[in-house]
Amino acid sequence: MSSAGRLHNVADIQRYARDIRLEVVRMIALQGQGYVAQGLGAADLFAAIYFAEMRLDPADPSWQGRDRFFLSTAHNSAAFHATLAVRGLIERSALETYCKDGSTLEINVSERLGPLVESTSGSLGQGMSVAVGTAVYAKRRGLSHRCYVMLGDGEMQEGQVWEAAMSAANYKLDNLCVVVDLNHMQVEGHTDNAMKMAPVADKWRAFGWSVLEIDGHSIPEILGAFEAARSVKDKPAVIIARTVPGKGVSAIEGQLSHFMRMSPELAESALRELA
C-alpha cells in the first residue's frame, strides 16, 4: 500500500477489523485477563483509522509527512498492538510478548515501542494536549499532515480534555480529529455510575467543535465521518462513535467489564465465533 493510499473497500476493512479482534482475543487469552471488551469494541475504529484514513508508510514509520495517531486511552493496548501487527507495522510474532517482562508491548502503550507511538498516555486526559501541540505546530509551519486522537468516554471526566478542547478551537485546528470511543464503560462499570456526562455532543459543540455522531461499528459510517471531518474548515472535528464493549463475541458483548477474565474456554469459543 502506498504511503498516501487509502482503502475504501468496506469488506476489506471489515476483514481487517475481524483480524484485529482475533488477535485481541489471542493476546488476552495468553494473559488470562485484560482489556478485551474495549479492544473488541474499538476494533472497527482502529481498522478504519489504520487501513483507510491515515497516511503512513510501513517501510518508514518515522516519515515526517505521516498522519499522527494518539492513543489517549493507552490501556486499549491489545487492540492497538493488534492493529499495528495486522497493518504490518510490527511483526505478528511480537504480539506473543504482549505484557511479558521486558517486552516493548506494554499493557499501557509506551513509546518504548518506537516511533509508531506518538506519545505515552497511560495517565488519562493527556493525549489530546500532545495532539494539539502537534497540530498547532503543523499549522504554523504549513505542514499538511493530520492528527487523530482516540479518546475514551470516561476519559472526558478529566479536566485537561476540556482545556485541550478549548485550545484546539481557539487555534482553529481543522487538522485535528478526535474519535470518542463512546462505550459507556469505565473502571467502576457504567460511566453514569461514576459521572454523568450527557449531553456529550452538546459539550463538544459548545466548545466550538464540529461534531459527528455515528455507529462505531458501521465501517461506511466511520469512513463517511472521517471524510466529513477532513472537509471541516477552521475548527477541529470530533467523531462520537457509539461502540459496544465485547463486540463480535456474543458471550461477552455488551458486558461492562473494564478488566475482564478470559478463560481458555471463552477464548476458544470467541476465536471460533470470530473466524
Binding site: T120, S129, V136
Partner: protein, 334 residues
C-alpha cells in the same frame, strides 16, 4: 503593565539587595534566541508580560502561543511541539509549571525526554502573592524526575547564559528564574557558564557555602561577615542543581571542615538535600547545615520581609556556619 506584573515588579525588587540590573534581560535574551534559532517557540499561560515573554510575542508572533490559564494542556502541547521538531520555551510561574502540572511534566516532558524548556518565575519567597504563588518545592519536584536538568541562575549574565545553554542542549530543562534585578556576582576569575559545572565564586579554607540563585550574593555577604569572625569561607555557585557537579562539591568538602548549603527553597529535596546526598555517598562525614525554608509554608509579603522571617539571609548563613563549627568541634572532642 497589568496589576500582577506591577506587584511582582514592585515587591520583588524591594528585596534583600537593591536592584542593580533593570530592564527585561530575560525577555530580550529570549527574542535574541528566537531570532537566532527558527525552531524556538514561546508558550505562555496568561502570564506573558509577567514573564517578559511579551517581547517575543510582539516581535516573533508566528512562533508565540498563548494557552490561557490551563497549564496541564500547555505542557502537553509543548510535548507535541517538541516531538514535531520545535523547541518550546514554556512560561509561567514556577508553581504552575511544576506543582500544578507535575504529571504532565513527568509524562510528556521528562519520560520521553522531549526538548521542552520550562521557564518558571517567582522562585521561593519572592512574591507578595502568597503560598499559592511561592515555589518552595519546585526544585524537589523536578529533581525527582529522571532526565530533568535544573538550572537556577544567580545573576543577569547567568540568566542570559542559562537560557542559551538550555536551548542548545537537547532535552528537558527547568529554568528557575527571577526577573533580572539580581545582584551581579563578582568572581575572582572570569566566569564561564557550563551546564552541570559548579563555580567557585570566592575561595576560603575553613568552610564552603554552596548556594544557588539569589542566595549566592547572600552567601558572599555571609563569607565577608565570617571573615570578621575569623572563619575563612569559600562560596560556590551551584547554578545547575541537577545534575549536581558531584566532583566539584566533594572536592570542596574534602578540604574544609564546615559545609553550608543555602537555597531559596524548602530544605527538603533541593540543593541542601543534593549536597547532603553527595557528601554522604562520598563517605566524607562532614557536618552540613542547610539554610532554606524549614519545612513550613510561608505567607504573602515583600521579599525583604519574607527572607528575613524565614531565615534566608546572610546572617542566617553565618549562624548556620557557627552552628556547624560548634557541632564539628564537639565531634572532635567525642
Amino acid at each position: 503593565m497589568n496589576s500582577v506584573e506591577n506587584i511582582d515588579r514592585d515587591f520583588a525588587t524591594s528585596a534583600v539587595t537593591a536592584p542593580v540590573v533593570q530592564g527585561p534581560i530575560y525577555g530580550e535574551a529570549l527574542v535574541e534566541l528566537g531570532q537566532q534559532n527558527p525552531d524556538v517557540f514561546c508558550l505562555s499561560g496568561d502570564l506573558t508580560p509577567a514573564t517578559e515573554a511579551n517581547l517575543f510575542r510582539d516581535q516573533i508572533p508566528e512562533r508565540f502561543l498563548n494557552f490561557g490559564i490551563a497549564e496541564a494542556n500547555m505542557i502537553g502541547a509543548a510535548g507535541g511541539i517538541a516531538r514535531s521538531g520545535g523547541i518550546p520555551v514554556v512560561h509561567s510561574f514556577s508553581v504552575f509549571l511544576t506543582r500544578r502540572a507535575y504529571d504532565q511534566v513527568a509524562m510528556q516532558v521528562a519520560y520521553p525526554r522531549t526538548n521542552v524548556k520550562l521557564a518558571g518565575f517567582l522562585p521561593g519567597l519572592t512574591t507578595l502573592l502568597g503560598v499559592s504563588h511561592q515555589a518552595i518545592d519546585d526544585v524537589a519536584l523536578m529533581r525527582a524526575l529522571p532526565n530533568m536538568t535544573i538550572i537556577e541562575p544567580a545573576d543577569a549574565d547567568e540568566l542570559r547564559a542559562s537560557l542559551f545553554a538550555a536551548a542548545k542542549m537537547n532535552g528537558p530543562v527547568y529554568l528557575r528564574l527571577r526577573r533580572a534585578d539580581l545582584q551581579p556576582i563578582q568572581t575572582q576569575k572570569p566566569r564561564q557558564f557550563e551546564i552541570g559545572k559548579g563555580q567557585l565564586v570566592r575561595d576560603g579554607n575553613d568552610a564552603v557555602i554552596f548556594a544557588s540563585g539569589m542566595m549566592v550574593s547572600l552567601a558572599v555577604q555571609a563569607a565577608e561577615l565570617l571573615q570578621e569572625k575569623g572563619i575563612s569561607a569559600a562560596v560556590a555557585n551551584i547554578h545547575t542543581i541537577k545534575p549536581l557537579d558531584v566532583e566539584f562539591v566533594t572536592s570542596l568538602v574534602r578540604d574544609r571542615r564546615l559545609v553550608i548549603a543555602a537555597e531559596n527553597h524548602s530544605i527538603i529535596g533541593g540543593l541542601g538535600s543534593a549536597v547532603c546526598e553527595a557528601v554522604a555517598e562520598a563517605g566524607l562525614g562532614a557536618v552540613v547545615e542547610r539554610v532554606g525554608i524549614r519545612d513550613v509554608f510561608a505567607e504573602g509579603g515583600t521579599t525583604a520581609y519574607l527572607f528575613q522571617k524565614y531565615g534566608l539571609s546572610a546572617e542566617a548563613i553565618v549562624d548556620a556556619c557557627l552552628r556547624a563549627e560548634m557541632r564539628a568541634g564537639k565531634g572532635k572532642q567525642a
